[in-house]
């Protein structure tokens, strides 16, 4: 429990030291800006990398007893959601000390969190199923999360790339959630309707694909363990 709070704080410290001098000049409330990105990305990474193993590491159970297989993933996701909640409390403390105003609009933060929970579940379903079929997915996924991290504009602002290319960032569901958070916490505005639809769209897409894979392969997993 201690580490679930300390680890994001330490990551934040490192990012602050490394990028603070350069990007900190042009981006207001840079610490909060970083924290938004780090908070969401850490949650995504924890729940999906943990979720990827969930099916495989419980193979001894579902090959003997007929239990719903998604439960293993759900339990992993609940634990990372609790971690996320704890870190979020620290985040609000930072927001308070930074002097940013708390407004009623903060209620809207529940929306991207809900989208993120569904999205992470979906990704977990997809990844844990793939991991049963191909064990080396974990290496590929490590590379993929690194790419995703750099593409999520955690420590820079997307204005550093040409206007035409900025649309690419919106293909990244994690960036959409991060941008949503920043708009509310730092700018104090409610994001556009498109932003809402985008977040929900990605979440539902991942979740439905994941459910489909589980449904189609429910009885095939057994052959691969």
């Amino acid at each position: 429990m201690g580490w679930s709070i300390l680890s994001p704080l330490l990551t934040l410290l490192v990012l602050q030291i490394v990028f603070g001098f350069y990007f900190g000049q042009s981006i207001p409330h840079y610490t909060i800006y970083l924290f938004c990105g780090n908070l969401i990305f850490a949650y995504y990474r924890e729940s999906t990398t943990g979720g990827m193993n969930s099916l495989m590491s419980n193979a001894s159970i579902f090959s003997k007893i007929n239990v719903p297989k998604y439960l293993f993933l759900f339990s992993k996701n609940v634990s990372s959601l609790i971690n996320f909640g704890l870190t979020m409390l620290i985040f609000f403390a930072f927001v308070f000390f930074d002097g940013l105003p708390f407004t009623w609009k903060f209620i809207f933060l529940l929306y991207p969190v809900a989208c993120l929970v569904v999205f992470n579940l979906g990704m977990g379903l997809i990844l844990s199923a793939l991991f049963v079929f191909f064990r080396d997915i974990s290496y590929l996924y490590n590379v993929f999360t690194m790419l995703l991290m750099y593409a999520s504009a955690i420590f820079y602002d997307i204005s550093i790339v040409p206007d035409k290319l900025q649309i690419i960032f919106y293909l990244n569901p994690i960036y959409c959630c991060i941008a949503y958070f920043r708009t509310i916490v730092i700018s104090g505005e409610v994001p556009s309707l498109e932003m809402h639809l985008l977040c929900m769209g990605y979440a539902l897409l991942a979740f439905l694909v994941g459910c489909y894979i589980y449904k189609a392969n429910n009885h095939k997993f057994l052959y691969y363990i």
Partner: protein, 306 residues
């Protein structure tokens, strides 16, 4: 209405080199045309049906497809072809002590297993005391599961499965767990459960158990159904003949023949025994009283290991 009805159930395992290969290896093999998946029919066209209160014994040599069939009954696997109809809740004991978490305590594992079998916490609260008492683990309730001996683990698994009152109870080689005292207790419990109208399936290599507990019997060999019927004695006799002669029967007449052969063999053995005993006694008579007394004394000493 049949509680369990299997209609031409076949189960096919995929074997070959698709397991444990990564996506890289998979693509490479696909490109080279070196990707082979073989089929292995663990069970082929198995049909049986059980009414409420029936106890089915499944016999067969190793690799006959018994455990795979149980997996299909308990719903862990679906039949590749054919139909399996189940009406009622199932408590399955496949490879007893597995499926427990080694780091959780005995109490937590009991509730976990209960949850896996689909029972609520409230239900388990009621049953918990009985389960622990039956498994004789009162002093171990708060110990981590890994500290238990393997016999204790099996005892706990057996107690849970028996005491949650399922409609269907599946037992895979489990009546031989625990020490002598517990084995007797679990045998008594089994009879009590069967008397209460639970439908059961028992896989056992102990024909004595099958003869005693079962009223239906299914004989499998290498995935094929040799026979299914309610004449347990006939099938057991034929199976014992098979174990000696290693020749499979085909058709019901042959099963009867085999059973007769076995009975004949038994009868001959008994006769043989009688003859040798008679010969021995005759020898004693011939030798006269003095010699007979000496022989008796010798034998007595030999039997008592002196």
């Amino acid at each position: 209405m049949a509680i369990i009805k299997a209609d031409k159930v076949s189960i096919c395992y995929m074997t070959g080199d698709f397991k444990d290969i990564g996506i890289k290896e998979y693509v490479m093999r696909r490109l080279k045309g070196n990707y082979h998946v073989k089929q292995f029919w663990a069970d082929k066209d198995i049909s049986f049906s059980l009414e409420k209160g029936d106890m089915l014994g499944i016999i067969g040599t190793n690799g006959a497809g018994k455990s795979t069939l149980l997996k299909a009954v308990s719903g862990v696997m679906v039949p590749t072809s054919g139909k399996m109809e189940i009406h009622g809740s199932i408590a399955a004991l496949l490879e007893l002590a597995s499926g427990f978490d080694q780091d959780l305590t005995v109490r937590e594992n009991t509730y976990l297993r209960g949850a896996m079998l689909g029972y609520t916490r409230k239900f388990m609260d009621e049953k918990y005391e009985d389960i622990i008492a039956f498994a004789e683990l009162d002093d171990f309730q708060e110990r981590p599961f890994k500290h238990l001996s393997s016999g204790m683990k099996s005892r706990l698994a057996f107690s849970i499965a028996c005491l949650v009152n399922p409609d269907i109870l599946i037992l895979d080689e489990v009546l031989s767990v625990g020490d002598g005292a517990f084995r007797k207790k679990s045998g008594d419990k089994m009879r009590q459960i069967l008397a209460s109208g639970v439908t059961g399936i028992l896989v056992s290599h102990s024909l004595g158990q099958v003869r005693e507990l079962c009223n239906k019997i299914l004989w499998l060999d290498h995935g094929k159904q040799v026979g299914f019927g309610s004449d347990v004695k006939l099938f057991c006799d034929a199976y014992e003949e098979f174990l000696i002669s290693k020749k499979l029967p085909s058709g019901s007449t042959l099963i009867k023949e085999m059973a007769d052969k076995y009975r004949e063999r038994k009868r001959k053995e008994a006769e043989e025994k009688k003859k040798t005993e008679a010969a021995r006694l005759l020898d004693i008579l011939k030798a006269g009283p003095k010699e007979a007394a000496r022989k008796a004394a010798e034998e007595y000493l030999k039997e008592n290991g002196k």
